[in-house]
C-alpha cells in the first residue's frame, strides 16, 4: 500500500502523449513535432452537407463565410493524369497492383465544406429546416475520405460495421446510391446515438423505407452470418483515437485501468477487418480506417488481415492503390509520405484535420 500511495498518478492524457512521443518520434521522425503541436491545438471541422435537408441557402451562406467544398474543388483542380499514375507505379513495387484499381473513382454526390488553409474560423451550429432536418453535420473533414474512397455506386448494398455515432453513415447516405445500408455498432448506447443522429438528418419516410438496417452486435460475427452479402464494406474500427486521447481526460483509453483493452486493439481490429472481408462479395471493396497514427493499428493490421484471410478463409484480397486519391486531396490535407499500404492524413496546424488512416481492399474471389 505504501507503493500505491507514493506512486505518482499521471493523467491519462499525459500517458497518451508519452506513449506517442516514444513510438511516433521513431515512426514519423522529424514530422512528429508538427503533428504533435497540431494534435494539441484546436482541430478543424468540415460541414458535411445534408442533401436531405430543405433548409434554403445552406451552401451559399457557408460560402459567404469563406468555406469551400473541398471535394469538388480538389477533384477538378487536381485531375489525375494517366502519366502521373504511370510514374507513380514505376516508383513503387507494383507487382500486387491491379491496373483497374488505378481508374480513379469515388463515391459521388458528397459535399463537405471547409475553411481554407490557415483559417481558424469556426462553424455555427447547423440549423433545421421546416421539418426539423439539420442542414449539415460537423465532423473532421478527413473522416469523409474513407467514405469517398469506398466508391459506392448505384444499387450497392453497403455494410458499415462500426457505425456509431454515425458521421460516416451519414456521408454514405449522401451518395443516394446506396440500395441498402446496414449500420452496426457493438455498443448499445452508441447505437442509440447513431439512431438519433440519423433521425436529425433524414426524413422519417426515408428511415421507414427499410433502406437502413441498424443493429447492435459484435461486428466480428457478421463475417460469418452475412458472408458475401455486400458490395461495399466500411470497417471504421475502434482505435486509440490519438487526438482525443492526447486532449481529453474523460473516457481516455490510456487510463491504467484500460491498459489490457488498449493492448488488445490490434487484435480486435484485425478480427473486425477479417469479418468485413468475409462479408464482402467477390469483386467488392472494403475500406479499413482508424483515427490513429499507429503503424501497429494501421498498416500492420491490414497486412495481418490480408494474410489471415488467405490462410484461414481462403480469400484473396488485394490492396487498392490510393495514391491518386491522396494526390487529388493534397491541397486540403497533409498526407504521410510513402506508407507500405494505405494513406494517412497527418494533422498540421495549417490544415488541422486527422489523423485518419485508410486502406482500400478488393476481394478477388
Amino acid at each position: 500500500t505504501k507503493w500505491a500511495a507514493t506512486r505518482p498518478t499521471f493523467p491519462a492524457t499525459e500517458l497518451a502523449l508519452h506513449n506517442f512521443d516514444t513510438s511516433y518520434s521513431i515512426q514519423l521522425r522529424d514530422l512528429w513535432p508538427s503533428i504533435r503541436v497540431a494534435m494539441l491545438s484546436e482541430q478543424k471541422y468540415g460541414a458535411l452537407i445534408n442533401s436531405f435537408s430543405s433548409a434554403p441557402n445552406v451552401i451559399t451562406e457557408l460560402e459567404a463565410q469563406g468555406c469551400k467544398d473541398f471535394i469538388s474543388i480538389d477533384c477538378t483542380r487536381n485531375e489525375v493524369h494517366q502519366s502521373s499514375l504511370d510514374s507513380m507505379t514505376s516508383h513503387r513495387d507494383s507487382a500486387e497492383l491491379d491496373p483497374a484499381a488505378l481508374q480513379p473513382s469515388m463515391s459521388p454526390d458528397i459535399k463537405c465544406l471547409v475553411f481554407p488553409k490557415g483559417d481558424i474560423s469556426r462553424f455555427n451550429p447547423a440549423r433545421p429546416d421546416s421539418s426539423g432536418i439539420l442542414g449539415y453535420y460537423l465532423l473532421d473533414a478527413a473522416s469523409v475520405l474513407p467514405v469517398l474512397a469506398l466508391d459506392v455506386q448505384p444499387g450497392h448494398t453497403v455494410l458499415d460495421l462500426c457505425a456509431a455515432p454515425g458521421g460516416k453513415t451519414l456521408a454514405l447516405l449522401q451518395t443516394h446510391s446506396v440500395n441498402h445500408l446496414w449500420a452496426n455498432d457493438l455498443s448499445g448506447s452508441r447505437t442509440m446515438r447513431l439512431r438519433r443522429t440519423l433521425q436529425s438528418y433524414l426524413p422519417k419516410e426515408f428511415l421507414e423505407e427499410n433502406k437502413i438496417h441498424i443493429t447492435s452486435t459484435d461486428g466480428r460475427q457478421l463475417g460469418m452470418t452475412e458472408e458475401k452479402s455486400f458490395e461495399r464494406v466500411l470497417v471504421d474500427v475502434p482505435c486509440t483515437t490519438d487526438r482525443h486521447s492526447a486532449m481529453v481526460e474523460e473516457n481516455n483509453i490510456f487510463k491504467r485501468s484500460r491498459t489490457k483493452e488498449r493492448q488488445k486493439l490490434p487484435l480486435l481490429q484485425t478480427q473486425l477487418l477479417l469479418a468485413g472481408i468475409q462479408a464482402t462479395r467477390g469483386g467488392g471493396n472494403i475500406v479499413y480506417s482508424t483515427c490513429s497514427l499507429s503503424q501497429l493499428q494501421n498498416e500492420c493490421v491490414v497486412q495481418q488481415a490480408i494474410s489471415l484471410a488467405q490462410q484461414e478463409l481462403g480469400i484473396t484480397v488485394q490492396v487498392q492503390d490510393l495514391r491518386w486519391f491522396a494526390q487529388c486531396f493534397s491541397d486540403t490535407f497533409h498526407f504521410a509520405p510513402q506508407l507500405s499500404v494505405g494513406e494517412l492524413v497527418l494533422p498540421h496546424l495549417c490544415a488541422n484535420f486527422g489523423p485518419i488512416y485508410m486502406c482500400k481492399l478488393q476481394r478477388m474471389n
Binding site: S25, P33, S34, V37, S41, E42, G118, I120, C350
Partner: protein, 265 residues
C-alpha cells in the same frame, strides 16, 4: 477657442522673456545649432513647458549632447513639461539604483519615458522584483537597464510573467535576467514557450528540477528574431507559427472569459 500657436518662423519675437521661458539665444548658447534650436523651441512652445531651461540643464548635466537631447524630446515631448528639480531627483534616484554612467544615458536616450515616472513608481517595481520575485539588487539594476519597459507594466501582470517563467518553464532568476525576459509581452512569451512545449521540445521540470529532454536556454528562445527562433529552436515554418499565434490568442481569450465566469460565482 484657445489662442493659436505662434508661427515658428516668427518664433524669435517671443523668446526674449525673462524667467523660466526658453529663448532661442539660450539654446544656441547651450550648443544647439540654429535648426535644432528652432525645432526645440517650437516643441517647447507647443507643449507649454514652464521649466524648460531647468530641464535642459539637467539633461546637459547628464552629459547628453544637443542632438541626442533633441532626439529625446522628439520621442517624448512630455519631457518639456517636467520640472527640472523633479527630473534631477529621478535621475539621482536611478543612479542610486545602481545605473552607472553610460548605461544611465543610454537608457534615457533609448527610453525617455523613464523620466516621466515618479520615484515612487520605480521603487514599487524594484521592490516587487526584489521581494516577490527574489531578484538580487544587482539583478534588478540589470533588469531596469535592459528592459526599462518593466517600470510601466501592471504589477500583477509583471508578477504573473515572472511566475510563468519560474514555475511553468522552470527558469531561475539569473537565466531570466540573461534572457531579458521582461522585454517581451506575456503573450509572446507564452506563444514561443507553448509552441515548443506542444512540439515536444520543452518540458516543465519536475519537483527535482528534472526533465526527460534538454530544454533550450531561455535566451535562445526569447532573445532571437522570430526567424531564428523558428529555424534554430522550434524547427517549424512561419505558417505554422502564424496559425499557432492565432489559436493561442483565441485560447487565452476564451480561458479569460471562463475564469471571469467562475470568479463571478
Amino acid at each position: 477657442g484657445e489662442p493659436h500657436q505662434v508661427n515658428p518662423s516668427h518664433g524669435g519675437q517671443v523668446t526674449h522673456r525673462p524667467g523660466n521661458q526658453l529663448s532661442l539665444c539660450s539654446l544656441l548658447e547651450m550648443g544647439f545649432s540654429e535648426t535644432q534650436a528652432k525645432e526645440m523651441h517650437e516643441g517647447a512652445t507647443k507643449s507649454r513647458g514652464k521649466h524648460v531651461p531647468s530641464v535642459m540643464t539637467a539633461l546637459l548635466l547628464l552629459g547628453l549632447n544637443p542632438s541626442s537631447i533633441l532626439k529625446i524630446m522628439q520621442k517624448c515631448p512630455e519631457v518639456y513639461s517636467l520640472k527640472g528639480a523633479d527630473l534631477q531627483q529621478r535621475i539621482d534616484h536611478l543612479r542610486k539604483m545602481g545605473l552607472v554612467e553610460g548605461s544611465l544615458q543610454r537608457m534615457i536616450s533609448h527610453y525617455p519615458k523613464i523620466m516621466l515616472l515618479p520615484v515612487k513608481r520605480v521603487n514599487m517595481v524594484s521592490r516587487l522584483l526584489r521581494e516577490k520575485c527574489l531578484f538580487t539588487i544587482h539583478q534588478v539594476t540589470e533588469i531596469l537597464r535592459d528592459s526599462p519597459e518593466v517600470l510601466e507594466e501592471d504589477l500583477a501582470q509583471l508578477e504573473y510573467k515572472f511566475q510563468y517563467a519560474y514555475f511553468r518553464m522552470g527558469v531561475r532568476q539569473p537565466e531570466m535576467v540573461k534572457a531579458k525576459l521582461f522585454r517581451l509581452p506575456l503573450s509572446e512569451l507564452r506563444c514561443r514557450h507553448c509552441f515548443l512545449e506542444r512540439r515536444g521540445l520543452y518540458q516543465t521540470p519536475d519537483k527535482k528540477g528534472q526533465t526527460l529532454i534538454l530544454n533550450p536556454a531561455l535566451k535562445d528562445v526569447l532573445c532571437v528574431s522570430e526567424e531564428t527562433y523558428l529555424t534554430q529552436v522550434a524547427m517549424a515554418t512561419a505558417e505554422e507559427f502564424h496559425v499557432f499565434r492565432k489559436l493561442m490568442a483565441r485560447e487565452q481569450e476564451e480561458k479569460g472569459r471562463e475564469d471571469e465566469y467562475s470568479s463571478d460565482e
